[in-house]
Structures are given as structure tokens and as C-alpha cells.
Amino acid sequence: MATDRVLCGSSSEIERGEEQEEQQQEHDSEAKLLHDRFRLSAISIAESEASKNGMEISKVLVSCIADLAYKFTEGLAKDLQLFAQHANRKCVNMEDVILSAHRNEHVSSYLRTFSNDLKARDPSSERKRKKEAKKNDKATI
């Protein structure tokens, strides 16, 4: 039972507890670093977009948008994992990303176009397509 495990805590369990706390602190400082680096990128994108309209964007707002985008990315991670798992895969692919944008037609069709461009630019996928085409030819003969 859970209570039994807590009551007869051995010394190894206490050590593991301390180790876990250290790991947690490292984890938190890594998170903060990642958060800050992400914020810088988001600020850069936001300011470039604002200047395209000949406008300026307040610092507070940029920070807000950066935090929002970070949370969005975390939610995206969860969705992508769920979609890949649902398809019995361990590796997230482009279809999963396109599916995660299902709420807005414009966004999903834009991503689909972008993904077709990526596939077209990828030389290794061309080789795969040629191989598959050859296989199909053999099958139809």
C-alpha cells in the first residue's frame, strides 16, 4: 500500500529524494534559460512584424506575446505527442503538425502548402518517390 511505502522509507529512498530535488533545481534553471532564449526570438519576430506596418510595439506587450507563444508551444508539444501516439508512432511527422492547426482553415492550408514546399525541396524524399514509382511500375506490368 502507498502508506506502507512512505512509513518504511529506507535511507536509499531519502538519498533518491535529495537527488530528485537537485535534478528538479537544474531542471528549473534550464527552463528559465530556455524561456529567456525563446523570449528573445519572439521579441525579434514581433518587432519585425510591427515595423512591417510602420508601427512600434510596447515592450510589455512583446513580453506578453512571448510568454503566450511559449505556452502555445508547450500545448503544441502535448498535442503532437497525442496525435503521434494515436497513430501508434513514436516520431512526430508533418501530418501531425498540420492536424494540430485544425482550428483555423487558413492556418492549416498554409501549413499544408509549406509542407509541400519542404517535401519538394527535400532531395532524399525524391529518391524515395522514384523508388516507389519503379515498384509500382513493376507491379502493374
Binding site: 511505502r5 512584424e49 510589455v60 502555445f72 505527442q81 512526430v92 492547426a101 509549406f114
Partner: protein, 111 residues
């Protein structure tokens, strides 16, 4: 270098490792959580004799990562552009948090 080319390099070289790191953090946390729950269940049931299999955390395909970066970039762009439209309608040249508040509900519904 044109502005379009700058945007291209910006998100491919700067965003990719960042987005990848955030994705991996969430995935390893969720995988560890699932392992912990499964390990507790095995202990409770007393039937699981063998050690729990360490399942590989989720990984991402290269093109899917690029696509995810584009999605995040579009999110930030939409937020700024929609807020800018509100600011412009008001006649101001500075985009303020109040402008974002106006478009935030629809933004969150769209993404």
C-alpha cells in the same frame, strides 16, 4: 539580403533548436510521468514481476520540426498583426496591450 530571406533564416536557424528543446522537455516530462504511474501500478498489482520497459520518449521528424517552427512564427505574427490592425483603427502608431486584449479571444480560438 531581402526581408523575406531574413525571415527565412531567422526561423530556420534561431527558432529550430529552441522549439526542439521545448518539445523535448514536454515529451520527456510526460514520458517520465507515465513511467512513474505505470511503475506504481505494477507495484500495487504485485503481478508485474519484470522491470518496467523504459519507453523511448517521443521524437520529431526534421520537416515536422521546421513546420512547427513555422506554426509558432505564424502564431506570433498573427498576434502582432491583429493587434496592429486594432491599433491602426484607433489611429495610434504604438501597439499596446489593450489592442491585444481586443483580439485575444479569437486568436486563442484560432490556434
Amino acid at each position: 539580403m531581402g526581408e523575406a530571406a531574413f525571415d527565412f533564416y531567422l526561423h530556420f536557424f534561431l527558432l529550430q533548436p529552441l522549439i526542439h528543446a521545448i518539445l523535448k522537455r514536454v515529451w520527456t516530462a510526460r514520458t517520465l510521468e507515465r513511467e512513474r504511474i505505470e511503475a506504481n501500478e505494477a507495484l500495487d498489482s504485485e503481478a508485474g514481476a519484470g522491470t518496467s520497459k523504459k519507453s523511448r520518449p517521443t521524437s520529431v521528424n526534421g520537416n515536422a520540426l521546421k513546420l512547427s517552427c513555422e506554426l509558432v512564427r505564424v502564431f506570433v505574427t498573427e498576434a502582432v498583426q491583429r493587434a496592429a490592425a486594432v491599433a491602426e483603427a484607433e489611429g495610434s502608431t504604438q501597439i499596446e496591450p489593450s489592442h491585444l486584449e481586443f483580439i485575444l479571444p479569437q486568436l486563442l480560438l484560432d490556434f
